[in-house]
Symmetry: C2
Subunit: 420 residues, 2 copies
Amino acid sequence: MPETVVMKFGGTSVADAERLKRAARRIVAKRENGTRVVAVLSARGKETDQLIAAANEVSPNPDPREMDMLLSTGERVSCALCAMAINDLGHRAISLTGSQAGIVTDTSHTKARILEVRADRIRDALAEDSIVLVAGFQGVSTARDVTTLGRGGSDTTAVALAAAIGAEICEIYTDVDGVFSADPRIVPDARKLPVVSFEEMLEMSSSGAGVLQLRSVEYARNHGVKIHCRSSFHDRPGTVVVAEQETMEHPLITAVTHSTGEARVTLKGVPDTPGIAGRVTTALADANVNIDMIIQNEPVSEGHRADMSFTVPRDDIPTAQQAIAPIAQELGVEVATDPSMGKVSIVGAGMKTHPGVAAKVFTTLGENQINIEMISTSPIRISCVVPGDRVPDAVRALHSAFGLSGEDSIRPEEPFGPFS
Amino acid sequence: MPETVVMKFGGTSVADAERLKRAARRIVAKRENGTRVVAVLSARGKETDQLIAAANEVSPNPDPREMDMLLSTGERVSCALCAMAINDLGHRAISLTGSQAGIVTDTSHTKARILEVRADRIRDALAEDSIVLVAGFQGVSTARDVTTLGRGGSDTTAVALAAAIGAEICEIYTDVDGVFSADPRIVPDARKLPVVSFEEMLEMSSSGAGVLQLRSVEYARNHGVKIHCRSSFHDRPGTVVVAEQETMEHPLITAVTHSTGEARVTLKGVPDTPGIAGRVTTALADANVNIDMIIQNEPVSEGHRADMSFTVPRDDIPTAQQAIAPIAQELGVEVATDPSMGKVSIVGAGMKTHPGVAAKVFTTLGENQINIEMISTSPIRISCVVPGDRVPDAVRALHSAFGLSGEDSIRPEEPFGPFS
C-alpha cells in the first residue's frame, strides 16, 4: 500500500493561473514519488470576498443556506482549474465537491461542523491511480444542502480527509515557511520551529499565530493527524505538528505570540453583588461577542463597588456596548472602552514543570516599562494584555529573555526530516 | 392543486444586482397569484465567458469533466443570489443545483443529454410552499459527476423540469418581446406572433431565429410542454409555442428567418463517380463540421466532372478545408471558399397545402435581383442561400410579399390570453 498524503493549498497559492499551475506541478511531483495524493484547495485569492460583496449587493442580510450555496462555488472553481492543469501534465486528476468527497456536516449553515467523512469515492479514485482534488471549506448537510465550514474551513477539510483515509501526513501549504518562535516581521531572528506539539499549536493558534486555524489543529489532535505546515514557494521542510511524545524534548518556551486587535471594555463602579459578571457575560454571548479575558478588581472603598474589565475583538466594540447598555443603565455604572490594546503570550510545553516562568515574564515586561493590564494563563501559556503600541517591544523582549533566537535557542535548529 | 409554472431567466435577465432583484420581484408576484413557481436561472451576464477564459489560461485543452465542474458554478451563483433576494421579499426560496434538482444525464461532458428528471426534492419544496430556484444548464451524470447540457442548456432544463413536475406552462424570459414574423432590426414592422406550433418553432430555430434553442423546443414537443417566450422587462404576453391543433388557424407563412454566418465551400471539377459525396460528408462529420446544404451540379462537359458545393458555419471554414484536403488532393480538384454567404428562409405550417409558395419565393427574390445560390426545403420551410450582403433585402422582400406586416398580415394580431 503506497503512502497517502493530503496536500492543502490556500487562496494565495492558487490565486492566478501561474500559481495554480505551480500547485499542479507540486502535486504531480509528489505523485511521481509514488505517493497517493489528495489535494484540498481554497478559493482563488479574493474570490470569496467578491462573492460576499455580490451577496451584500442583493440582500442586506443574506440567507445562510444561500450564502453557503454561493460561497462553495469558489473552491470548486479552483479545483476544476487545477485538475485541468494536472491533466495537461499527463496525470489523471478529478475534482470533487465537498459533497462528492463525502464531507457530511450538521445543518449549521456558514459554520457547519463535520459529522462524518464518507471517503469511498476518494478511495476508489486513488485506487484507480487518480489524483483527487477536493473543494475545501464545504460539505453537504444531513438535509442534503451545501454547507460551509466557516473560518479556516479548508484546513479542517484537509485534516478531516487525512483522518478518514488514513493519510500518513496532512501538508498545509501556505505563504510562510512554517511556524516561527515569533512573528518574523517583529523579531527578525525568530526561528522556524521544526516541530511543535498539538497542545502548543492550539495555544499558539488561539493566542495569535495565524498560520494554522485553531479548529483544524483541534481536529488533528482528536484524530491523531500529523500536520506539516510548509511553504508553497519552495521545497524546504516547514513545521510538523504532532502528538506530544515521551521522548520529545520539552523546550521551556516554544514561541512568543501576539495579537493587536484587542479592545478593553470597563464597567466602572459595579456593585459588589453576586451574579453581575454572569449577566454581563451572558449578554455578550447572546450578542455573539467572544470575550477573551475578564477581571474584576477588589472593591476599593466601603461602597462595595469595583471595576469589571474584559477584552473583546476590537471590531466587536459597538456590539458589546449595545449588549451591555441595559445592564449598565440599570446598575447606574459608566462604560469605558479602550480600543488600542494588544496581547502578548508565551507558549511552551516545558512551562508545566517550571513555576518561575511567570515571574520572568512580568520582570521582563517591567524592565521594559511595559504595563501589564490583564493576565491569563493555561498550563502551557501565559498571556498579558498590554498597550497596543507596546506589543512589538513586548514580543522582542520576551523572545530575547527566553533565548528563543538563533544559536542560543533552547531547542536546536535541525531539519525535522525528509518531508519535501 | 394550485397551478405550477416554470420560469426561466437568461443571463441578461440576471446580469447584475438590480436585474436579479427584478427577476426576484417577478417570481414573487407570480407566487402571490397563488401559482407554485420553479425558476431556472442562467449564469450572470459574462460569467460563463470569464470562467472559460480562466480555463484557457490554465490549460490549452481543458478536460471536459473539469470544464463542467467549472462552468456549473455560474448558474449556482445566480440561483443563490436570487434566493437571497426572494427571502428578503418575505417569501421562502431555496436554490438547488442541477444535481439536487434531480436532472440526471448521460456522461457526455459539456454536451450531456438528460436521461431522467427525479423531481422529488422540487415537489417536496413546492409542497412546503417554497419557491424553488434551479441552476440551469447542468445535471449530474449516471457516474455521479457534474455535467453541463451545452448550448441552450438552461432552456432545456426549464422545459425538462416543466415536463417532470407537470407544470401548466414553461415561461422563457428573455430580452426580446417574443417570436417575431422577422427580425425587427431588419423589418421594423415585423409582428410579434401570439402563437406558433412546435413544428414551426423548430424550423424557425434551426434556420436562424435565436430566441429559443432548438433542443429545448424539441424536448417541449416530445413531452407536450407549452412554452411561453416573453420579455423579462415588461408584463405583456409574448409568444406561446404549442402543439398544432385541428382547430388552429393555419397561416400560409408564419415568419421569415435568416442567418448571416454561412460560408460556402466548393470542390471544382469533381469526377462523376459514386461515393465521393459520401466521403466528403463523412470527413466533415468526423471533424465535427455541421453541413447545412449540399448540392452537386450536373456534369457540364464530356469529362464527367461537376462542382460540389456545401454550406458550413463561417467559423468552421479552416476545419472544413483541413478535413477535405486529402480527398481534394487525391482527386486533383480545387477547393474554393466563399465566406460571405447568408440564408433566408420562410416558415409556415400552411405551406404544406399550398404548392405555389416556392415559386413566389423565387420570383420575389428574382424581382429584387437577389441571386439564389442554393435551395433546401422541408414540408413547412423553404430556405435559400443568398449573398451575405443581400440578406436584409431578401428578408424585407419576402416579409412584404407574403403580407406578414401589420394589419394586412394573414394572422390577426390579438393577445393570446392572460399569461402575465
